[in-house]
Symmetry: C2
Subunit: 271 residues, 2 copies
Amino acid sequence: MTAAGPEPSDPGRTDARLSPEADRVRSELVTRLLRLDERSDSLVSVIAEWIARGIIEGRLQPGHDLNSVDLAERFGTSRTPVREALMLLEKEGLVETPPRRRPQVSTLDLRVVEEVYQLRAELLALVALRVAERARPEQLAQLREDLAAMEDAAARRDLDAYFWANVAFHERAAHVADDLTLKRTLDSLGARVLQLRHFSLSLPGRMELSLEDHRRLVRAYEEGDGPLAAALSRSIINAALQAIRESGWTKGSVDRRDDASQPPAVTESSK
Amino acid sequence: MTAAGPEPSDPGRTDARLSPEADRVRSELVTRLLRLDERSDSLVSVIAEWIARGIIEGRLQPGHDLNSVDLAERFGTSRTPVREALMLLEKEGLVETPPRRRPQVSTLDLRVVEEVYQLRAELLALVALRVAERARPEQLAQLREDLAAMEDAAARRDLDAYFWANVAFHERAAHVADDLTLKRTLDSLGARVLQLRHFSLSLPGRMELSLEDHRRLVRAYEEGDGPLAAALSRSIINAALQAIRESGWTKGSVDRRDDASQPPAVTESSK
DNA sequence: CCCCATGTTAGTGTCGACACTGTGCGTCGG
DNA sequence: CCGACGCACAGTGTCGACACTAACATGGGG
């Protein structure tokens, strides 16, 4: 409540048992997903990324209060960069800011979830089509690598690792499709439901099915079978959506790990 | 240069010969396209909308300097709301803000234009599909009304009026499709190239062709022929894109009317 | 004459302050 | 005992100020 002062240097920022390397990779993924790299000012980026990860990883639940003064204190900055970060996240749909009220973590209702998933299905189909038709050999190799990471994580039954590997895989595919607009649109949609994507993978059997689908997808890429790849992509998304539907998902039932661990103070860092 | 004070009340804000009613309607369209209504604070909205319209209507050319202190002076506010407005527009792709440099009006290069148009073609096809399949009679009537406005404008050879009527038509269709996510995605993409959409309609013969296509599209809607409506939508966009390509469009060749007329001072208004 | 260093200036990013508004609580009247 | 009213607090939106940086102009050296 008082002035933050020098924060405890590295308070198990996310999962205690997470290699710094993996943590860094995930940060970068989030950063790219939110296009934070374009904006140079590190303050805003750091703050936005921290909040975004909090939301995605379930540390910050839908409806959670995000008042700028608290956050500013936490980060040891003024409210200005915090407000910018919140605006940014609002545009991405992660945060809602009612008129003169406190910003809060967006509440996903099933309806928009369905919309987002369906739209993502279409867009991913477009991506798949292009990847299958235009991917160069070394790009296919990269995709195989990403798939390998997924295999690896699945073998270890490491949900988090699998989840992020999956995100990276799609990120790669979108990149290979070589259409920045499409990629950004997809990233933006995807970011909104990242939390749910994580959740859906946690449902029993989903990880295995997902892995299988992605294996097949890569094969379709390698065979240059665009229509198949597109159909598979649609199916992957639809399966995830169906799983969510059947799980009786509501905004409350997402996995919660509610240590609201301390964010990194940016006072001296990031120079 | 000095404090703004009470600005000359209504300095031919856009086109001198434009009914206040039409002006208001266009403002509202822009506002909705940019989802400014969600954000209540009128300062930011007013500023963002003014800049956006400036860009769309060609008053502010790509590359045009948008430094916050000038704008703040113009609007008689501090820089804070201006900066917010600029951030907002940056997210919409209308403005670019290099790290520590001045923000400027985004430069469209042909590549992203192609990407945006192609993506829009796909999304509009989705919209068309749903409209054709699900539109209720009174919604069809509304679409017919919007089409009538286009007919009317075309008959008067009023490019601006036709352009905005067209925007309104698509807005309506997206609304009827009843998919908020899709609509927003489409709006966001559309906003980026509004300037170009205007330009492409100004090319010889384009307005007539566009009108014809839209007439046919509405008929497809009425006949409930989804696939046809989708195909027509794609065609409409592709034709526009093709026209732009053939016009040898480059960032310079957009129609310019470079009176940088005074924005409305918001000092006392908007209470 | 051109190129590089230096000083100047304009503009950004950030801060702390202030007024206004929404929220929750206590109080008062029924 | 319950509900309306009003008050105090919390938090937002906005402002003006400040340090720092990029761009530009100026002058000196090659």
